[in-house]
């Protein structure tokens, strides 16, 4: 008691002395009225390392390391700035002092803390609730960025882990849903980054839970509330939408986060890895009901899910709730919140966009019941990869799959108004169909190879893979070497600039009934095909031996592409053309092995109807025609004039013959009579 009285008396004197001295010096300062307690005053006692006090039966050190304090963020402050209750007290002061109120300066953090799960616990008088000093320490607080800070990023897991690891009173006695938090975190990609690789930017506890506003996940203001989790994660994973285009359409994420899985649905909290993890909403929960054979929906559909189907499927590692995403785990029937059909685009986002643009997708969007949706081609729980021969979408099964609607008479075929008919049998007989279905070459083009799997559009649509502009690239996906030749040829739009439509692959090879080009059918039809556009030149071809034999139905003589090339057709003036001066003899020699340059002068498209281009043929033809007409006219007139005379002569002859015969018979009769008379 006496000690404290002397201290207060001394401080009183000191204050007075100070007041006077300042006044004497002529400073008009606002000198405190009370006695100022300086840090030195405090350190007079607290620099003694042996200074302790007893509290709750334990010895508590009261030593203040002057050096550390001076280096701390609070170094420039007076002790009394925090230990405000020391103000005006006699030294040495009575113990214990009141709890320091950090909120007097750090009011925001103080309020956040007060609202947080920690602050509320503290208000409830929970002895386990952490206060500022629990995490930050007291006299040696350094900036967070300082590695020596108690709350430096790399130390956060330990700070939090003091309470939130297995076996602590908090973990044992308080309602904490998560288990093995620290261990899981340490193993997670974040923990590995922070603790093993020392990446201090890796997320620590506070990165997700915040430092002071720590709230339970079911609090809508929580940083880990379902609707906020995306924002929380994107603090670091700023461009995660780009990475997750296939999973989450940016727009939906923001507007209808509930229809999509949240980050943590796939990347479980504390266990986050760059891989999917099994769900909180476990499949077993679903199967409790859906394993039952008799389970039916209100409209009578069977709702049974065979675990074996899913187990053998491509989605074996995907939880029910990842597709049936509107489940709410807090309900007894988690699925009762489901209002929409499964939207595969939640994961298969790019494909979903393609599908939406396709004819199938457009029809589906209009509510056409005939429009195929994902499951119509891929199935439901037993969805298989396209490389699985059991899959509907395995290449050899695709024609049958598409035929379900596109076979003549089926629902798609009856809607179709274009020119391609009998596509299934035609395809089956085509070189592709035979390759795929008869030879079993699974790399052979099937329906989807040309029409794409999800972006099928009519050929008239410029976006379509079978639009004339895109056909070379579509076919070139397999026939790349041909495409390379084709794009260099006169038929390529990049070479020939014309308003006329240029031919593409299917104009010569057809679309579905593509034939072998080395067999008769194709070789005979190609001339008419070329003749569609090259009418005049085709006509003149048919005036030559090559053309005439072709007309007779024989393939051995040269057809258009034997000379001009098939895909690498170039102008004859182009030195690279098969028919350029340098190459033409070699081209002829393909058939006429001993052809010469003069031989190559044969006009393969000669016409005798063009006096300017081929005067010698023209005049030869007309010379011959004149000869023919002249000869036939003269001999014809001669014959016709002869005819009446000849007929007349014939009559005369007949008459003469008749006369002779009569005379003869008379003579005979006479001689007979004579003979008779004689005898």
């Amino acid at each position: 008691m006496s000690g404290s009285a002397t201290t207060s008396a001394r401080s009183c004197i000191l204050q007075i002395v100070a007041a006077f001295s300042l006044a004497a010096a002529g400073y008009g300062s606002q000198a405190p009225a009370k006695v100022q307690i300086s840090n030195d005053d405090c350190l007079a006692c607290h620099s003694d390392k042996s200074l302790t006090t007893k509290r709750g039966g334990r010895s508590l050190p009261l030593y203040i390391d002057q050096k550390k304090f001076g280096a701390s963020v609070h170094g420039p402050l007076q002790c009394t700035n925090c230990h405000a209750d020391l103000e005006g007290k006699e030294l040495p002061h009575a113990t214990p002092l009141a709890k320091v109120n950090c909120g007097s300066c750090h009011s925001d953090e103080f309020q956040q803390h007060a609202k947080s799960v920690h602050g509320k616990a503290l208000a409830r008088g929970d002895a386990l609730a952490p206060r500022c000093v629990s995490c930050h320490g007291n006299h040696d607080i350094v900036p967070v960025k300082d590695p020596r800070s108690a709350v430096a990023a790399i130390k956060i897991p330990y700070v939090c882990g003091q309470c939130h690891q297995e076996g602590t009173p908090v973990q044992l006695n308080r309602n904490i849903a998560q288990h093995d938090i620290l261990e899981n975190y340490t193993e997670s990609i974040h923990g590995e980054g922070l603790l093993k690789k020392g990446l201090i930017v890796a997320a620590n506890c506070a990165s997700c839970h915040t430092a002071h506003s720590i709230l339970p996940h079911n609090d809508p203001n929580s940083s880990i509330a379902r609707k906020n989790i995306a924002a929380t994660c994107t603090k670091c994973h700023a461009n995660i939408e780009l990475v997750h285009r296939k999973t989450i359409r940016g727009e939906l994420w923001e507007k209808q986060a509930n229809t999509l899985p949240a980050c943590i649905d796939c990347h479980q909290p504390h266990k986050v890895r760059n891989a999917f993890y099994s769900q909180g909403m476990a499949d077993a929960d679903c199967m409790r009901c859906h394993a039952a054979e008799h389970l039916k929906a209100s409209d009578g559909r069977s709702m049974v899910v065979r675990a074996s189907e899913v187990a053998g499927s491509r989605h074996v590692k995907v939880a029910c709730s990842q597709c049936h995403s509107e489940v709410n785990a807090s309900r007894v029937r988690p699925c009762e919140t489901i209002t929409h059909k499964v939207d595969c685009t939640a994961c298969h986002e790019a494909i979903g966009q393609e599908y939406a643009q396709s004819t199938h997708g457009q029809m589906h969007a209009k509510g056409n019941p005939n429009a195929p949706f994902c499951k119509d081609c891929h199935g439901t729980h037993h969805v298989l990869g396209k490389r699985n021969p059991e899959s509907f979408t395995f290449s050899t099964n695709v024609p049958d799959l598409c035929a379900k609607c596109h076979r003549e008479g089926q629902k798609a075929a009856v809607l179709y108004t274009g020119k391609e008919h009998e596509i299934i049998p035609r395809y089956t007989e085509s070189i592709h169909g035979k390759g795929l279905l008869k030879s079993g070459l699974t790399v052979t083009a099937t329906c989807t190879s040309c029409h794409t799997a999800h972006h099928e559009l009519p050929a008239s649509n410029p976006e379509s893979s079978v639009n004339p502009n895109n056909v070379p690239a579509t076919c070139g996906a397999c026939h790349h070497g041909i495409e390379e030749q084709f794009v260099q040829s006169v038929h390529s739009a990049s070479i020939t600039r014309t308003g006329q439509p240029l031919p593409v692959c299917n104009d010569c090879h057809s679309a579905h009934s593509i034939r072998r080009t080395d067999l008769d059918g194709f070789r005979l039809d190609i001339m008419n095909t070329c003749g569609h556009c090259h009418a005049e030149i085709a006509k003149t071809y048919f005036d030559t031996y090559h053309g005439k034999v072709s007309r007779l139905g024989y393939t051995k003589t040269a057809k258009c592409y034997d000379c001009h090339g098939a895909h690498d057709i170039l102008k004859v003036t182009d030195p690279r053309s098969h028919l350029s001066r340098a190459n033409v003899v070699a081209t002829c020699r393909k058939c006429h092995s001993d052809a010469t340059r003069r031989f190559a002068g044969y006009l393969t498209h000669a016409t005798h109807h063009d006096p300017k281009k081929y005067p010698f043929l023209f005049w030869t033809f007309w010379g011959m025609t004149t000869l023919l007409v002249g000869t036939f006219t003269i001999s014809g007139v001669h014959t016709l004039l002869w005819l009446p005379r000849a007929l007349k002569m014939r009559r005369q002859l007949r008459e003469e013959e008749a006369r002779e015969k009569a005379a003869e018979s008379q003579a005979d009769a006479k001689s007979k009579d004579n003979n008779d008379g004689q005898s």
């Binding site: 006509k539 007309r551 007779l552 044969y602």
Partner: protein, 308 residues
């Protein structure tokens, strides 16, 4: 020294002026009950003509199938013939036969000249010449008058002007079609010294000349020598080689007169061919005629209704 036979023949020729009535010479000797016939063509001539028929028809059919390849008939024919390559082979084989016929004929002309010790002059300008003469021009004019009812029928000799025309048409045809055909057969060889476009010219000439030949043979020649109303339905002289003497007297009065004047007619008479042989010839002739007419119909159809 002048040959009395020839002198007589010349006298007979002089006598048979164009204005004389149709039958001027008495039948000599009286041929009552004489079944013998005049031999107009030798066996060689007949054989050559038969070869000609076979090769010509073959060439026509195979060639036309290419020329009129745009008709369904051509396609069917090419199929029947065994495809264009086989048809081509047949065409060239027939061409070889025709060339053979042609050169055999030339060779026999030379052989006969040597054998009979004749001069080219007597062959080319004698009474049996196939070269056109001034008399042919007169006969042509006379024939025209006869056609128009302005005069009697001229007294033709061994070869009428239209028969001579036929003969040289074949001569010319073989040369023209044969040479262009060889060009088309061996284009690589011929383009060693001819421009490549000559193949095109050769094609036109070959094809059009062939059209002329077939058209002419299957219409005018058929009419002139086989189908004339007074001979209808078939003059088999070229097949049997025989001609009734009465016909000789009527159609070739000048030759008949010459032979009578010569007294050599008897040498040219033979017993008729056996009935079966004549029947066989008729079958052959009718077949050839049928094919020929079919080709004509086909050509007309192709040229008029299916022309492209």
């Amino acid at each position: 020294m002048a040959n009395p036979k020839h002198e007589f023949a010349a006298a007979a020729e002089r006598r048979t002026v164009l204005t004389e009535p149709l039958v001027v010479l008495p039948a000599w000797p009286p041929v009552v009950a004489d079944k013998r016939e005049f031999v107009r063509f030798t066996r060689l001539h007949r054989t050559l003509h038969a070869c000609m028929i076979v090769s010509f028809l073959t060439l026509a059919l195979t060639g036309m199938s290419l020329k009129f390849s745009y008709t369904g008939w051509a396609v069917r024919l090419a199929r029947i013939l065994g495809g264009f390559e086989t048809a081509g082979f047949i065409h060239r084989t027939a061409a070889v036969v025709m060339f053979g016929t042609f050169f055999t004929h030339i060779a026999t002309l030379i052989r006969d000249k040597r054998r009979n010790h004749l001069t080219w002059r007597s062959i080319l300008f004698g009474p049996s010449t196939l070269l056109p003469t001034r008399r042919d021009a007169q006969e042509l004019a006379g024939t025209m008058k006869w056609f128009l009812g302005l005069g009697p029928r001229p007294h033709y000799g061994r070869w009428t002007y239209w028969e001579k025309f036929d003969y040289f048409a074949v001569f010319w045809g073989i040369v023209v079609i044969g040479s262009t055909g060889l060009t088309l057969w061996f284009p690589v060889f011929f383009t060693r010294f001819l421009p490549g476009a000559f193949i095109n010219v050769a094609t036109i000439i070959h094809s059009d000349e062939a059209l002329l030949a077939t058209g002419f043979i299957f219409t005018v020649h058929f009419f002139n020598t086989h189908l004339r109303p007074e001979k209808f339905p078939m003059d088999t002289t070229i097949f049997t080689g025989h001609m009734p003497v009465a016909e000789l007297r009527r159609d070739k009065p000048r030759e008949y007169a010459a032979l009578v004047a010569d007294g050599t007619l008897e040498e040219h008479l033979e017993e008729p061919q056996p009935e079966i042989v004549i029947k066989a010839f008729r079958v052959f002739a009718w077949t050839a005629l049928g094919i020929g007419f079919s080709v004509v119909v086909w050509i007309i159809y192709a040229m008029i209704f299916a022309y492209r």
